[in-house]
């Protein structure tokens, strides 16, 4: 079973790292969005199993994206993982309050993100 993950992150290099980490898991494919807007555009045309999002982004922030996904009848069941920095503890708390399933702090180890993904999706690979 293939699982599709939407990665929302404005840094291209960071996106590449997350992609490589996710795709290292067997059966996982990714779709990248360089901004919140790109994510909004990608949502209707894909069936995502998971969204991994940054908080600080230029157009709409990650919290707004979480609120959108969780308030949308078609997407509200998609789990979200917040990627944040230790600086933005308050933002992370808000992300979880809005319905994010987990968070990981930058810089993180690839294995830790993989573990978190497995935990959030309830899979054993």
């Amino acid at each position: 079973m293939t699982r599709k993950v939407l990665i929302v992150e404005d840094s291209k290099a960071m996106r590449g790292l997350i992609r490589a980490t996710v795709e290292a898991l067997p059966g996982f494919v990714t779709h990248e969005a360089g901004s919140g807007f790109d994510a909004l555009k990608a949502l209707p045309s894909h069936q995502f199993d998971l969204i991994i999002t940054d908080i600080n982004m230029p157009d709409i922030n990650g919290l707004e994206l979480i609120s959108f996904v969780k308030g949308h009848p078609n997407y509200k069941s998609i789990p979200l993982i917040v990627v944040s920095t230790e600086k933005s503890e308050e933002d992370r708390r808000r992300g979880l309050a809005l319905g994010a399933s987990g968070y990981i702090v930058k810089p993180f180890k690839g294995e830790d993100l993989q573990e978190l993904i497995k935990k959030v999706l309830g899979v054993t690979v």
């Binding site: 290099a13 590449g16 209707p44 919290l63 979480i66 959108f68 920095t85 600086k87 308050e90 810089p107």
Partner: protein, 660 residues
């Protein structure tokens, strides 16, 4: 294998780090100017914070601890600045500049040796010291004064919440602007709405929601703070399909308070930001006035003809002259306001060059001069794509690979020069590279292959080069990601031509290629030469006219089936306008008027019956039917209510090249 991967990811890190640092530098320069002016735009501070924040995250992930530690320190300072915990002073700005320099040094270390060498302890201390200048965070939240839905506050980041507080503290009106857009086009529509709102106040957050019918579109709730009234907002954004809801202050003292406070909150800034569409509107009115002026001048002339230069005719003449002078000043003033330095796009191009050169693995310097040269704002915007394309072409096909350059005895780093300078009422922009040049013979062969010319045709180098501007004409075998997107030189030329400009190319194999673009400084109102051709009148934009001649028929000779005249020892090809537009043949007698148009050696003589004179014209677009007639750029009205066509000189030169 692993090291190759490491190399690649190091490259990715460096490319992005360099972009971020470049961006930071520019924003910091902006902030420095704002600090001096006494009013700092929170968006700029936040942009700097975000840049440093990204850099910190990035360097942490890639394991560059020096960059990571220093940017972490810097991030804390910027976080304090954007949250208003530490005041922004010139000293703080200097500290940030120093830190950026050090970060740049570190990334250069990484690029050279893979290791960070520069020491950061001293700079960390400077940042530390800058941090201690501040007080603390605000205790009681002023947001409590607002009757706002907690769900709206829940999605705000800490920074956005701080901005909301600042707006409440300043007793600004807080509004929720709701708009619903199509899923496919919302980013464009939202940008238009954002631009409108930003001219009126500060957008605090942009919350998307599915709204009532989730499959039909997407709804946005924009939270904003502004000094404008509800009515003003509605007036501004109503047209964009947005709805405005005021978020009221709990206490009704708001009104009284803002009235009492108003004398002390005078803005320190002496500038206003104006939407370009308002300037367009003003310019249009000036354009209409110019037409009216032309009509009045004509009437005044007619009156003098009827009554002689006496009484009311003299008075009207004087009044008209005063009107003309004042209108001239008004026109100049409005044009001046629209002028922006072309450096605005140059800066953007620098970043793009860096990125693209990196993508194709070439070392390229972009040198610029004449950034201060001013051009109409709209033209500057319209020029950015063509310039970008020319530069991409140079990077991709012009500048050779380092080994090839070394073999040819050139420096391994390629150079692209971007220059702009005013020339009379025109602006000249040149893009020059020191690459491999374009092979005339190759272009010629391609033209023969495509049956544009015969093998036996004799063409000058310049005539051959004209082919590169034809649709679908490319001599490059491989399509690259950088410039090979199916957009060719023909599109560049079309864009330039639409702005009544001209483009010319000079190239030498092994030495380089230079594109020269000549543009009028504004399109709103241009000077034109009015000419008659067999009972029809045309306007020729003066920016493309080199000179006018009167010649006798016997000076015309035929070379290669083309009619030409010899002008100061050089051959000038002629084009009869009556033939181009299939007008009845004019019987102009033995004397012909020739309007010499063009740029550099790409010249053409337009044969006309009579030169009427120079006049200022406002180009109006023409209907769909005439849109595709080659050689016509638009239409204009002259003083006597006559509508005449404005010639597209660039297209006529092409026409002449093909009619052979």
């Amino acid at each position: 294998m692993a090291s190759e991967k490491d190399e690649r990811s190091k490259g990715e890190f460096l490319a992005e780090a360099e972009d971020i640092l470049e961006d930071l530098n520019q924003h910091l320069i902006q902030m420095e100017a704002m600090v001096e002016a006494g009013s700092v735009d929170p968006d700029v501070v936040n942009a700097i914070f975000r840049g440093v924040h990204s850099l910190k995250g990035l360097s942490g992930m890639f394991g560059f601890t020096g960059v990571s530690t220093l940017s972490h320190k810097l991030e804390s300072l910027l976080d304090a600045l954007r949250l208003g915990k530490v005041p922004i002073t010139p000293e703080v700005t200097q500290a940030i500049f120093q830190a950026l320099d050090r970060l740049k040094e570190l990334s250069e270390d990484i690029s050279r040796s893979g290791f960070e060498r520069a020491d950061t302890t001293d700079i960390a201390a400077v940042i530390e010291a800058a941090m201690t200048g501040g007080g603390g965070a605000d205790k009681k939240s002023p947001v409590d004064e607002l009757a706002i839905d907690p769900a709206l506050v829940a999605v705000l980041t800490e920074y956005e919440e701080h901005r909301l507080k600042e707006n409440v503290k300043a007793k600004n009106g807080i509004f929720l602007v709701k708009a619903r857009f199509d899923l496919m086009t919302f980013d464009k529509d939202l940008t238009a709405l954002n631009d409108k709102l930003k001219s009126l106040g500060e957008i605090i957050s942009t919350l998307p929601s599915s709204g009532m019918s989730p499959d039909m579109g997407i709804e946005f709730n924009l939270l904003m703070g502004t000094k404008s009234t509800m009515d003003r907002l509605v007036e501004e954004v109503g047209g964009l399909g947005a709805e405005v809801v005021e978020i009221k202050y709990k206490a009704e003292e708001k009104k009284a308070a803002s009235e009492a406070a108003s004398p002390t909150i005078k803005s320190l800034s002496k500038t206003v930001r104006v939407d370009i569409s308002r300037l367009d509107h003003l310019m249009n009115i000036v354009g209409e006035l110019v037409l009216s002026k032309n009509i009045i001048s004509q009437l005044s002339k007619d009156l003098r003809g009827l009554h002689g230069f006496t009484g009311i005719a003299v008075d009207l003449h004087k009044a008209t002259r005063t009107f003309e002078r004042k209108l001239g000043e008004l026109q100049e003033g409005v044009i001046e306001v629209r002028m922006v330095p072309i450096g605005q796009i140059f800066t953007r191009l620098t970043q793009a060059v860096r990125k693209y050169a990196g993508d194709v693995g070439k070392d390229i310097d972009l040198e610029m001069s004449g950034e201060d040269t001013e051009l109409d704002k709209l033209m500057v915007e319209d020029m950015s794509d063509p310039l970008m394309h020319l530069i991409r072409n140079s990077i991709d096909h012009g500048i050779e690979a380092a080994q090839v350059r070394a073999r040819r005895g050139k420096p391994e780093r390629g150079t692209i020069r971007l220059d702009a300078f005013p020339k009379g009422n025109r602006v000249v922009i040149t893009v020059e590279d020191d690459g491999g040049g374009i092979d005339h013979e190759k272009v010629r062969r391609k033209a023969v292959e495509r049956e544009l010319i015969k093998e036996s045709d004799v063409l000058s180098k310049r005539e051959i080069m004209d082919f590169i501007f034809m649709p679908g004409f490319s001599t490059s075998e491989k399509v690259s990601e950088v410039s090979g997107r199916g957009v060719g030189m023909d599109v560049v030329k079309k864009n330039v031509s639409r702005l009544s400009g001209m483009i010319d190319v000079e190239t030498e194999i092994g030495v380089g290629t230079k594109f020269t673009i000549t543009l009028p400084i504004t399109l709103a109102i241009i000077k034109a030469l009015i000419v008659d051709v067999s009972a029809e009148t045309f306007a020729v934009p003066l920016s493309s006219v080199l000179e006018s001649l009167m010649i006798t028929r016997d000076r015309i000779t035929t070379i290669e089936k083309r009619e030409v005249v010899s002008l100061r020892g050089e051959t000038l090809p002629l084009l009869w306008l009556d033939r181009v537009f299939s007008l009845p043949k004019s019987d102009a007698g033995d004397y012909l008027y020739v309007v010499v148009v063009g740029i550099a050696e790409r010249r053409l003589g337009l044969v006309v019956d009579r030169l009427v004179g120079q006049q200022e014209i406002v180009i109006k677009s023409i209907g769909e039917k005439l849109k595709n007639v080659p050689g016509i750029a638009g239409a204009t009205e002259l003083g006597d209510n006559e509508v005449v066509l404005v010639l597209d000189v660039e297209a006529l030169i092409d026409e002449a090249t093909l009619r052979r």
